[in-house]
């Protein structure tokens, strides 16, 4: 295998890693959009919160009375951070977002944008913007594995696998279960689903909690790779919104595939023409908007 091929494959793997984060975040946005019909601008803030729950659980919980010497490990963080952030999301949905459903989705977008600014502002006040490293990576995930064409960091391989697993699991729940049939039906006609006796307001709260919980999960998985910083969500979410525009809001699988492909496209561009690596996704966005404004997997409002 020549040097160029190795380099392409290496960058594609790193791109796949980024793409897995794009996939899990845009998936959460798609699920939330399907039920709440709002574009959740606070998604990046919840991603950041997930990483901070993991970080603070590891470094700072031990100062609390009764928890002396307690350090939340990585595995615990993978479960606890999405739960904590998901509950916070449900609280925000119940107390704030709920009142805007009748007003059109621009209001929801503005509200969640405001929430994102508040959360991010609070954390910027107390934590280092340039980032704090998260050192609770388990030993079993340290080191590298030999993929044949390269040695790849074990943790990055793990993060690709677990992210894809969560994406696939979510897809299965939505497309193949009874609960998922309520969600799909709710996307089309929530009033009618409620008229059949389903507690739709509760379903909407749980969906929002689940969606932002996914973001928090991605935040925990990202914490050992990138440093944990109050602005990590903001940086990530701009790209993720471009991914969502390219994929279209309509489909779960569309969000997953688009996220992965664009991550790899980014990696590929790093080899071929590095200066364009940060802009290639936005270039794609422009092309897709011109050719198919509803996105690659998007449906127009008549479901065609």
């Amino acid at each position: 295998m020549n040097f160029f091929t190795r380099m392409v494959l290496a960058q594609m793997m790193l791109g796949l890693n980024n793409g897995a984060f794009y996939a899990i975040l845009s998936l959460g946005l798609a699920v939330i959009f399907g039920q709440l019909n709002i574009i959740n601008f606070a998604h990046g803030a919840f991603y950041m919160l997930g990483a901070f729950v993991a970080l603070l659980g590891y470094t700072s919980l031990s100062v609390l009375p009764g928890l002396a010497g307690f350090h939340m490990n990585y595995w615990e963080a993978l479960l606890i951070a999405p739960l904590v952030v998901g509950l916070l999301g449900m609280l925000i949905e119940r107390t704030m977002i709920r009142h805007l459903y009748k007003l059109g989705n621009l209001y929801g977008l503005l509200l969640t944008f405001g929430i994102a600014l508040i959360i991010q502002g609070l954390f910027t006040n107390y934590f280092n913007v340039s980032g704090t490293s998260y050192n609770a990576m388990p030993d079993i995930l340290r080191g590298t594995v030999n993929l044949g064409f390269m040695r790849f960091p074990t943790y990055r391989l793990w993060s690709i696998i677990i992210s894809l697993g969560v994406c696939l699991g979510t897809w299965l729940i939505v497309e193949r279960t009874k609960l998922g049939s309520y969600l799909r039906a709710g996307t089309e006609n929530a009033d009618l689903v409620q008229a059949f006796g389903v507690n739709v307001p509760l379903m909407i709260s749980l969906t929002y909690g689940f969606g932002v919980g996914l973001a928090a999960f991605a935040g925990v998985v990202a914490a050992p790779i990138y440093s944990v910083s109050p602005i990590m969500g903001e940086e990530m979410i701009i790209t993720v919104f471009a991914v969502v525009v390219i994929g279209g809001m309509g489909s779960i699988m569309g969000a997953i595939i688009t996220g992965l492909c664009l991550g790899m496209l980014e990696g590929l561009t790093k080899v071929i023409y590095p200066p364009a690596a940060n802009t290639v996704i936005f270039f794609m966005m422009i092309v897709v908007l011109l050719v198919k404004p509803t996105g690659l997997f998007g449906k127009d409002q008549y479901g065609e």
Binding site: S181, A185, L192, V193, A195, F196, G197, G303
Partner: protein, 238 residues
């Protein structure tokens, strides 16, 4: 939950309904006994569909009183009202395009005991069984209407709110629906039917409520139908 002794299924009194700024129903009162089949007739836009939706709480705001099985529902959310045993078949049929025929059929939760089994429903509607793996909106209009009926018969709902069943359907399907409704009546279902096709309604109903500009203008029992013909024609504008 004790059902009232007098066998009253629905009693609406001074029901007002609003969508945003517009005031659609202006004090509707009606009552339907257990096992009765009544129709709401009137012109397009007279408020018949809104009456059905108001009974389920599917309007922006409603005031007055709606008792179902003796339970006051005016402040209940739609999913709680449905759980009292109400099945709703909307005008646009409401078949979900992202769900298969079978998923559509299984979607509404069981609200009371005594609903029809899936096997029985597939017997009654063999077309649905044949296409059960297809996506819901792949069915023909008539089949979609059958599916919309079948899925509320599964839930054990005893009060059926049916909106414009026959709209846009071929005569042979309309006949099949007529037979179905007659069977349901024999089985003891209580039905409120909004129907444009007056002949369809006239043959089935015990009583007719004439709806005009958001009010009940007239109540006509089937015995008085013949002598009220001119009055009805005037209301319907035919």
């Amino acid at each position: 939950m004790a059902d009232p002794q007098d066998g009253e299924m629905v009693k609406a009194a001074d029901l007002h309904a609003h969508y945003g700024e517009s005031h659609i129903l202006h004090g509707v009162s009606l009552s339907v006994s257990r096992g009765e089949l009544i129709t709401l007739i009137g012109r397009n836009g007279s408020g018949r569909t809104t009456i059905l939706r108001s009974l389920l709480g599917l309007v922006g705001r409603r005031t007055g009183s709606v008792r179902i099985r003796g339970v006051e529902t005016i402040d209940l959310p739609p999913h709680r009202i449905a759980r009292l045993g109400v099945g709703y078949c909307p005008e646009e049929r409401g078949i979900f395009s992202r769900l298969s025929v079978e998923e559509n059929l299984m979607l509404p939760p069981v609200v009371r005991e005594g609903g029809m089994s899936v096997e029985r429903l597939y017997e009654i509607f063999p077309n649905l069984f044949e296409h059960r793996k297809a996506m819901g909106t792949r069915l023909s209009g008539g089949e979609q209407q059958m599916l919309a009926m079948a899925r509320i018969l599964r839930t054990g709902a005893q009060l059926l709110l049916l909106d414009e069943l026959t709209e846009g359907l071929a005569p042979v399907i309309v006949q099949a629906l007529k037979r179905l409704i007659r069977q349901l009546k024999q089985l003891g279902f209580t039905v409120i039917l909004v129907e444009q096709n007056f002949h369809f309604a006239a043959e089935l109903a015990d009583r007719h409520y004439v709806v005009d500009r958001g009010r009940i203008a007239e109540m006509i029992p089937k015995e008085a139908l013949a002598e009220s013909k001119d009055k009805i024609d005037a209301y319907l504008g035919v």
